[in-house]
Symmetry: C2
Subunit: 337 residues, 2 copies
């Protein structure tokens, strides 16, 4: 289905001037008489001229598109990060192309494989859980397409990364539980392959150790990010002879799943068993008792990632940066005895 639109040729013909002049007039005023420029602009408006980005992209070998590759969009964290990205991208005249991996490494590989190098000026990425090959990212960077990681970063790839302070957030969360008098603290961890899973686990373990508490491997369970996972993790923990008296979950969804499982067992949340999450998903304020959590600056992470990407795209040799944004403990009812 071919279509024909108004082009600068049409404007040039109507005004009896050359295409080059129209082209220049439409961009900066450089090398063009103000009067001519006015005429061109007026005519363009009159004919409702819209630039053809394919042609511009072809000659300039750029697309004004930024890719966003994420595991999902249907949750508070990612959709909020995305909103931050959108704000910056829009302000700079870039459009966003979204790719959802559904946490599937195959899907991620397929997307990166199909990616036309010419269709993207830059890429923002939060890697899928089990991604193990980062060759595609390095190839992109080698080809001059900057990549910036956020949240779930690929350590091995040398480029800018933006994340929250997973280690200290987890440490603070665990310390808070200890301060509240909980002693048998379990950790509902994320998939073992991810960097931030390990960071949060490390924060948890160090807090225990520094407080003279033992780290018990039976109380650390690695599973997915979903509410169901949290629910099942509790089911597993509650088969143990010695049950925990507090749970630190890798995110709020799992914490909520855990709370539902505890409610089913008639366990008093807060009093008997403390629960703490990570993210500050709006759900954490809705559930009863309200969930203590570690707030992530999701919107800021989105903004900053996109800003960094812009710098990588415009400056020739912008040095890669790793930015770690602070996480903030928010105490609510689920950890109040």
């Amino acid at each position: 289905m071919r279509r024909h639109y108004i082009t600068i040729k049409d404007i040039a013909r109507e005004l009896a001037i050359s295409v080059s002049t129209v082209s220049r007039a439409l961009r900066d005023a450089y090398d063009v008489n103000p009067k001519t420029r006015e005429k061109v602009l007026a005519k363009a408006m009159e004919l409702n001229y819209k630039p053809n980005f394919n042609a511009i992209g072809l000659v300039q070998s750029q697309s004004h598109h930024i890719g966003v590759l994420m595991p999902a969009i249907t949750n508070y964290y990612f959709s909020t990060v995305f909103t931050g990205i959108e704000q910056v991208a829009n302000a700079n005249g870039y459009s966003l192309i979204v790719f959802i991996t559904n946490d599937s490494a195959e899907r991620e590989q397929a997307i990166l494989q199909d990616l036309s190098l010419s269709s993207l000026d830059g890429l923002l990425v939060s890697v899928s859980s089990q991604a193990d090959s980062y060759a595609h990212f390095e190839e992109l960077i080698r080809n001059g397409i900057p990549v910036v990681f956020f949240d779930r970063v690929a350590d091995a790839v040398l480029t800018s990364k933006v994340m929250q302070d997973d280690y200290h957030g987890a440490y603070e969360a665990t310390q808070h539980l200890i301060d509240q008098g909980y002693r048998r603290i379990a950790h509902l961890a994320g998939p073992a392959g991810l960097t931030f899973t390990l960071k949060r686990r490390k924060g948890y373990e160090d807090a225990l150790t520094n407080n003279g508490l033992p780290v018990r491997s039976a109380w650390v369970i690695h599973s997915g990010f979903s509410q169901e996972c949290g629910f099942e993790d509790v089911a597993r923990l509650w088969t143990l002879a010695e049950k925990p008296d507090a749970l630190f979950a890798v995110n709020d969804r799992k914490a909520i799943g855990a709370m539902l499982a505890l409610k089913e067992r008639k366990v008093q949340i807060g009093k008997e068993v403390g629960v703490i999450g990570f993210t500050n998903d709006p759900m954490s304020q809705i559930i009863s008792p309200t969930l203590t959590t570690v707030a992530e600056p999701a919107f800021e992470i989105g903004k900053l990632s996109c800003e960094l990407l812009m710098k990588h795209m415009t400056r020739k040799n912008f040095e890669a940066q790793e930015v770690i944004l602070p996480a903030r403990l928010i105490v609510r009812e689920s950890t109040r005895r």
Copy 2:
């Protein structure tokens, strides 16, 4: 920043054949010897050739991009619709360009104004709350770029639309409240300008009327979609001499805001005042008491919208369709006496 990639010219040169032949070999086998085709494919793989979509788009005047214009992405409904869209688009080799209006009519106008006709093959739209000018959409369609509306549709524009059954969903919800013995039913409605706001309101009013109950304008409050709006609506209602004994909210977020306001007033939800929402946001199962709601088939709406758009894009004169997907009442604790 200009970059150079592998092109079909490179393949042609290395194989000492013409560009035309390479081009044909890379697409369908038509008019090209299987052996030649094999050689080209092998060389393309070896050189890691990626097609330049700008060039293809330029000559074919299409982009393989679909635009998605939505008020927001940070909520269950829209992010789920988007996931449905993504699935279909991806399966058909289209990329998605996302535009977020933040429910601002100005923003929506600006986006549509800037839209290059050549950068999109089709557009999926859920209009912003107060949008009043639909000229842009009609212009797109006139220019051969199909538009499909979902959820928040622009009635006046003649094109395909996909939505849930707002009227009957609202009717059922209200009928359910009446069946449970509630008689003084208020409606926390959405912004007055939107079609689906009016449909839900009509369903509510008809259910009252058909059951011999009066429609009282003081009990119908139009405001935004947010949780805070629901909270404030209750504050207003509770200043009335005669307070309602049930609330039907236009969506779950508002219903939840209302529940929080009721909890603050120590009102027993379910027993004293029934509350019912619309959407089936996962939050509705988390809050306590759990929220009765009308489930919208968000994922299906996304899939179907994109499928319809595909048909508009590929078939020359595909006739516009209006699809209304059924909504389903889900009874939970907030309406059980």
